[in-house]
């Protein structure tokens, strides 16, 4: 313990003596790049140097906590037992707690009260050190059974969620009550929230031509939710209750939405059904159906979303249907019920919670979707696109963006809470440990025919869509000029040789490299943070665990658009000035995708018997050793899942990062959306299919590399938590 404390204390001194306290300035360590002279030249110097030389005396206070911790280190018990030893312990605990609390408190007050440049590496390191010192103090007091690692982990996870989820959300709430000059206008908030542009019912009442954007969003989400659930159910029934022979293909198809950037389906739909689309062409020449722009608007967006989200609802419903014990249906049959009556009175009621769950998941997905409405919406606005235009458009009205984001957030949050509260535990369909013999009753023929028809339609459309994506990139201009060409790939991924050797001349390379780099850095961080959080939630009980769970849950429910807006609002100015850096992209990915890690971790951890941890503890291993030697090896499937999903989601994500990209740090999806907006569909499609190919290769590589170790009976299948993990794409 003493050795660890010594290390952290040394790190604390390094943070104030060596590392740059602010961003910018001329300090030659790590984060230089700033004006060489002038008033801000010293910004990058360590806190103590700034305090002594630059007339920023308040920074000198940063040493007090470190001195307190030093005192704590010296108060180390000399007597091991007895009253003296206990008094020493108490003194040490008091010093360390004071050091941690004081340091963090000072940092908070200092950074909010004093106008200064954005905090740098030194301040970040200082915060972590204070947190760990405080954790030592609290652990000595018996918190979390005296386990420093647990106390520090809780502090770290909680702190980072507060800073990177809580703080932006609070900022967005605050900026909703400010006007654009930062003045507080509480009075205006009500007007803004009830604006007729948001809640107007003109289209229904006949007083206007359009409805408020909130109604648009809800209507779209409702329609998509119902239709997606229906389609998902059709597939689930076919997969579970018929002799359908291509079940493996169904499973495979369910991966598609994971590796398809959300707007790509929208792009393909434009190319198929747009005014100059392939299908439109065909209909117009064969049947003389006039070309129109019907696809731009709700029909197109809904179609794209149904195609995209059906696999998710399929996965949910397959699980639920498999959980329905066949014996119940057999019992119904022996009571002389026909297949239709059995289906209606036994099967359907049993899967009703599952249906509601699938509906809510698709509902939330649709609310949060940004890419499809952006490329297909036309004049049909939804909240997520409205937010985008409020920020990037001519109006540049961040207050309005904040109001819209709050409304969207309240929708997703309500749906999410409904899903958790009502459906979290209420499932009659159970998979018991004992083998449940029996055959599920055959589907009534009407249901079977309907399901097959729906499934066939979906399949046909999907094949068309993915065919378009694959082929479209190789055609000059799909629909207009179907000459085979590599021009799009060349524009995007050209490599030329010039006087300085080879260079990546293609226009897509920059964004591709940034995307891959940022995703690769975010991947292990996301997995680590998510799994650590899952471990704390599943395995530890501590004061405030409920609140902790709620906070992590909150980050599940925040749509990407809201994250994006809140990040630019929160991190545009000191003390945390991160916009325009690559770091903010990484942070956005980590905290957006962390729920994936949490879910994978929770699913796997709850299958690992808790007595394994306890056995390790009673054998003298502390929780960190236990985590490393017992839990982590068993968590391997979850680690793979978390890594894969965080990587893939980082690559495909568009809604959050479109606000955060810059010319220097552009991302693939943002680039593609930009191309699509100016009508360069060929390039957009070509780039999209390249992304999909990259992700397929990455998935296969990870599967091959990691493989799975057999643990006999305990082998846990890779928990494909797609259904849950895509919730806020």
């Amino acid at each position: 313990m003493k050795r660890h404390l010594g290390f952290w204390l040394a790190a604390g001194w390094a943070a104030v003596l060596v590392l740059p306290w602010h961003i910018g300035g001329v300090w030659p360590v790590f984060w230089p790049a700033g004006p060489q002279n002038g008033p801000s030249a010293g910004d990058g110097m360590p806190a103590l140097i700034q305090g002594l030389l630059l007339g920023r005396p308040w920074l000198l206070a940063s040493v007090l906590p470190l001195l307190a911790a030093l005192a704590g280190l010296w108060a180390k018990g000399r007597a091991k037992d007895g009253a003296k030893g206990e008094a020493d312990e108490r003194a040490r605990s008091a010093w360390l707690t004071a050091a941690g609390g004081g340091g963090l408190g000072w940092l908070l007050v200092e950074s909010l009260a004093v106008t200064q440049p954005g905090l740098g590496l030194g301040a970040a390191a200082y915060a972590v050190v204070c947190l760990v010192l405080g954790a030592h103090g609290l652990a000595l007091r018996g918190w979390c059974k005296g386990d420093v690692f647990i106390v520090a982990s809780i502090g770290l996870v909680l702190g980072s969620i507060l800073v990177f989820v809580g703080f932006p959300v609070v900022t967005i709430l605050l900026s909703a009550v400010q006007d654009n000059d930062g003045r507080l206008t509480v009075a205006g908030l009500f007007d803004k929230l009830t604006d007729s542009g948001i809640w107007g019912l003109g289209c229904v009442l006949g007083t206007g031509s359009t409805c408020g954007v909130a109604w648009n969003t809800l209507a779209l989400a409702g329609v998509v939710g119902v239709l997606t659930t229906g389609t998902g159910l059709a597939f689930a029934l076919i997969a579970v209750r018929t002799g359908f022979r291509f079940k493996a293909a169904l499973r495979l198809a369910s991966i598609l939405p994971v590796i398809t950037p959300p707007f790509v389906i929208g792009l393909a739909i434009i190319l198929l059904f747009g005014r100059a689309g392939v299908v439109t062409d065909l209909l117009s020449t064969l049947f003389d159906i006039p070309r129109s722009r019907w696809i731009y608007g709700m029909p197109g967006v809904a179609m794209a979303q149904i195609l995209a989200f059906t696999p998710i609802s399929f996965l949910v419903l397959v699980g639920v249907l498999q959980g329905v014990s066949p014996t119940l249906e057999e019992a119904s049959q022996t009571l002389r019920a026909t297949p239709w009556i059995t289906f209606r009175t036994v099967t359907l009621p049993l899967i009703r919670p599952g249906l509601a769950n699938a509906f809510l998941i698709s509902f939330i997905e649709s609310l949060a979707d940004f890419g499809n409405p952006l490329v297909l919406g036309g004049n049909f606005d939804v909240l997520s696109t409205k937010i985008f235009y409020a920020v990037v458009g001519a109006a540049h009205d961040q207050g309005r963006a904040a109001v819209l984001a709050i409304i969207l957030l309240s929708f997703t949050l309500s749906a999410f809470l409904a899903q958790r509260r009502w459906l979290g535990r209420r499932s009659y369909a159970t998979v018991a440990g004992k083998g449940d013999a029996g055959l599920p009753s055959p589907l009534p023929s009407g249901v079977r025919i309907a399901a097959s028809a729906v499934a066939a339609l979906w399949t046909a459309l999907t094949v068309l869509v993915y065919g378009t994506i694959l082929v479209g990139g190789f055609l000059k201009s799909l629909g207009r000029d179907n000459t085979l060409t590599l021009i799009h790939y060349q524009t995007a991924f050209g490599i030329e040789t010039g006087p300085n050797g080879w260079w990546f001349s293609g226009s897509a390379w920059d964004s591709l490299f940034t995307t891959l780099g940022v995703s690769l850095v975010a991947m292990p961080l996301t997995a680590a943070l998510g799994l650590l959080t899952a471990y704390l939630l599943v395995r530890q009980s501590f004061l405030g665990r409920g609140a902790f769970e709620f906070l992590t849950m909150l980050s599940f429910a925040i749509p990407g658009t809201v994250i994006g807006v809140s990040y630019i609002l929160a991190f545009n100015t000191p003390p945390l000035e991160l916009t325009g850096t690559g770091l903010i992209l990484i942070i956005a990915f980590v905290f957006r995708n962390m729920p994936v890690g949490i879910r994978a971790g929770i699913a796997t951890l709850s299958q690992i018997d808790k007595s394994l941890d306890e056995a390790s503890l009673t054998l003298g291993a502390r929780s960190f050793t236990t985590l490393r030697r017992v839990i982590l090896p068993l968590l391997r499937p979850a680690i793979v899942t978390a890594m894969v999903y965080s990587f893939v989601r980082a690559i495909t994500s568009v809604s959050a990062v479109i606000f955060l990209v810059t010319a220097k740090y552009n991302l693939a999806t943002a680039y593609i959306v930009g191309r699509a907006e100016v009508g360069e569909y060929g390039l957009a499609i070509a780039y999209s299919s390249a992304l999909i190919a990259i992700m397929v290769v990455a998935l296969l590589a990870i599967q091959l590399l990691v493989g799975e170790r057999r643990l006999g009976r305990r082998t846990a299948a890779l928990p494909v938590s797609t259904s849950a993990s895509k919730v806020n794409a």
Partner: protein
């Protein structure tokens, strides 16, 4: 309750003279309480366990045995009170810092490690060199009779073998106290007898201090030096198996250990240590156990009941056979008798299988003096 140490109020730290170290109890609970929210799982528990003995915590489901055991291990924190292990106050210490090992009901073998690595785990995380740890682990595996299986994964062993690995893993650290939570519950009836004998032998040959949790009274009687019977989070009785069986402190104990019939009776007078007890028309001479004259209850073991078909009630009660079952080497009967104005069912076991009684027979119920005790009502 002879083992409970009463402490003068205000004694919070134990400062024993070094010479007394040997006499220190291996485990001591002082007013230990465990609450889960508003629910109190364990009330003010006081007991101490001598080194080198096997003590069983016995009681019906939900009485707090596992909770007590886990508080010894440090897997649960006591809500209040003091826990000492080997005289040291460990109340605030985590499980990793206590000199205690545990054999879990589910065995909790690490599925991703071989048997050998499992057993060596405690040594290696404690900082022992890998080679020495594996050597010690191999010894312990041989001790529990598993030499040759070192390279297998836990999933490749039978339940009984897994159990022995769990024991080896726990004793390899030579803990001051070894804890067992229902170690036999995953084994079949035959294996149970075998394994419990093995555990007892191991405990005696290595002079281990063992705390053993079970809800099976026969198992407890068979293995224990001492049994602490718990009910509703409190100690109901604490004593040797013989104490518990022959001198139950309450009708709960009498019923829980050895399925005694509880029969209302009258203590009518005494003569030295013996008292006259009237039950129905019969009068028995039994140790009065310092109970006051007047109504008492009798705990009658099933095999202390004599059933005869003669109709002379002078040495017993009249009854009627209500149920009879043949179990190979003995008969079991339920006999309805009228006592104190209501009908009482007595459960009897007799070795006579050749001339069984049948349902409906009128019988006379007598009592053998051994196997009958008075208990406080």
């Amino acid at each position: 309750m002879t083992h409970i140490r009463t402490l003068s109020p205000g004694t919070t730290t134990l400062e024993p003279a070094p010479a007394a170290a040997r006499a220190r109890p291996a485990v001591e609970f002082r007013s230990v309480v465990k609450r889960y929210g508003a629910f109190t799982a364990v009330h003010e528990l006081n007991f101490s366990i001598e080194a080198g003995t096997l003590v069983t915590l016995l009681g019906p489901s939900g009485c707090g045995k596992t909770t007590t055991l886990r508080m010894i291990a440090g897997l649960e924190q006591a809500s209040s009170g003091t826990i000492l292990i080997g005289g040291e106050n460990v109340t605030a210490r985590s499980a990793a810092e206590r000199d205690v090992s545990m054999v879990f009901q589910s065995y909790a073998l690490f599925p991703h490690m071989t048997i050998l690595d499992n057993v060596a785990y405690g040594l290696t995380v404690g900082g022992m060199a890998k080679r020495a740890a594996l050597e010690a682990a191999r010894d312990k595996l041989a001790l529990v009779g598993l030499a040759g299986l070192e390279g297998r994964l836990p999933s490749e062993l039978s339940g009984g073998q897994q159990q022995r690995v769990a024991v080896a893993r726990a004793i390899v650290l030579e803990p001051r106290v070894l804890l067992f939570d229902e170690p036999l519950s995953n084994l079949d009836a035959k294996m149970r007898r075998q394994v419990r004998e093995d555990i007892r032998q191991l405990q005696q040959s290595l002079k281990l201090t063992v705390v053993y949790v079970t809800h099976d009274q026969e198992e407890a009687l068979a293995v224990s030096d001492r049994i602490i019977v718990m009910a509703g989070g409190r100690i109901a009785q604490d004593g040797t198996p013989r104490d518990l069986y022959q001198r139950p402190a309450s009708r709960f104990i009498a019923d829980f250990i050895g399925d005694a019939n509880i029969v209302p009776a009258l203590l009518e007078g005494r003569d030295g240590a013996l008292g006259r007890v009237r039950v129905g028309m019969a009068t028995l001479t039994l140790p009065h156990r310092d109970l006051a004259d007047g109504p008492v209850e009798l705990a009658v073991r099933p095999n202390a009941i004599r059933l005869t078909s003669d109709q002379d009630p002078s040495d017993g009660l009249l009854g009627r056979v209500h149920f009879a079952a043949y179990l190979g080497d003995h008969m079991e009967y339920e006999v309805a008798v009228a006592l104190g104005g209501r009908e009482v069912m007595l459960f009897a076991r007799t070795p006579d299988v050749d001339a069984p009684l049948s349902v409906g027979d009128a019988v006379c119920v007598g009592f053998a003096p051994r196997g009958v005790t008075v208990v406080p009502p």
